[in-house]
């Protein structure tokens, strides 16, 4: 089992952080590995980071909201919104009436996320939603830069400019002709979005965004 866990890798060959057996890498290192999509005079670079290896946890289905209430976790009233859970150093993203995604506020600190997952798994409630396996089925990129909205406008039909889409907004739309969730987190310190999409298409997404940067 340990061998299988250690062998699990993301589409780009990274070992999943939760199974790295002592191997640690911080967001700083992930930053150094960022792919610069393009750099424009005066606009600065647009960076793309692959965060697929980092932990995330999704619960959806009937009972998911009730389970959160039972744990005293306040969730956003509006769908398509991200909110911090201060006591747990986690962010919660509400994607549907009974569809939630938990993200660590700092990607390399997954202890709080693991604790939440353990709590959910151990809970004997008959209806508590089901595990949506977001860490398995979704790739997780972060794209950021001053002109990120301009780049994404080539492929995403929603206006992502900073004045139209404030921090903690979430958009469920299409990027590179694929279904994609965009959450404005600004986690690299500038205008940026977390992208969640089909993990099997991670390579396609990377190539598509690179081509858009060039073109």
């Amino acid at each position: 089992m340990a061998f299988l866990a250690a062998a699990r890798r993301t589409p780009f060959g990274d070992v999943y952080a939760e199974f790295s057996e002592g191997e640690t890498r911080s967001i700083d290192e992930a930053s150094r590995q960022a792919t610069v999509l393009f750099e424009r005079k005066g606009g600065g670079p647009i960076d793309l980071r692959d965060l697929t290896r980092y932990g995330r946890f999704g619960v959806k289905g009937r009972g998911a909201s009730d389970w959160l209430r039972s744990k005293g976790i306040a969730f956003p009233e509006r769908i398509n919104t991200l909110a911090p859970i201060a006591s747990r150093t986690l962010d919660i993203v509400r994607l549907g009436a009974e569809d939630y995604l938990f993200l660590p506020q700092s990607v390399e600190q997954s202890a709080s996320l693991s604790a939440l997952r353990t709590e959910w798994e151990a809970d004997g409630l008959p209806r508590k939603g089901f595990n949506a396996w977001r860490e398995e089925v979704w790739a997780w990129f972060h794209i950021s830069g001053t002109d990120v909205a301009e780049l994404l406008a080539k492929t995403c039909p929603v206006d992502l400019n900073a004045d139209r889409l404030p921090v903690r907004s979430v958009v469920q739309s299409r990027v590179a002709q694929m279904d994609c969730i965009l959450a404005r987190t600004d986690r690299a310190g500038n205008h940026g979005f977390d992208l969640f999409f089909d993990v099997a298409s991670a390579s396609f997404m990377m190539r598509s965004l690179r081509e858009l940067g060039i073109g």
Binding site: N80, L95, G96, P157, V171, Q172, S173, R174, C180
Partner: protein, 91 residues
Amino acid sequence: MKIMNCPLNGPRNISEFTCFGPVHDAFDAQSISDSGWSHYLFYHENKAGIIREWWRHTPSNYFFIAERHTVTDEIVATYSPSELPRTESKS
């Protein structure tokens, strides 16, 4: 690109949506007659005019109701299924 207004996500390109066909009246599968089953399976109204249909916003997997004119293909209205009265004739 044709634009459709999703009740949850707002106006989006029609390519983000999937049609799931006309809204039918619910029936009791245990008590319905053979002719009722037959009508349900093999007869469709195919009305020229405004019909109610199930649509899904695919990226968010949100299902809703759209009223569409089958001749002009104009989308007249979209709304949440919760606004669809269960007792109303729906197609």
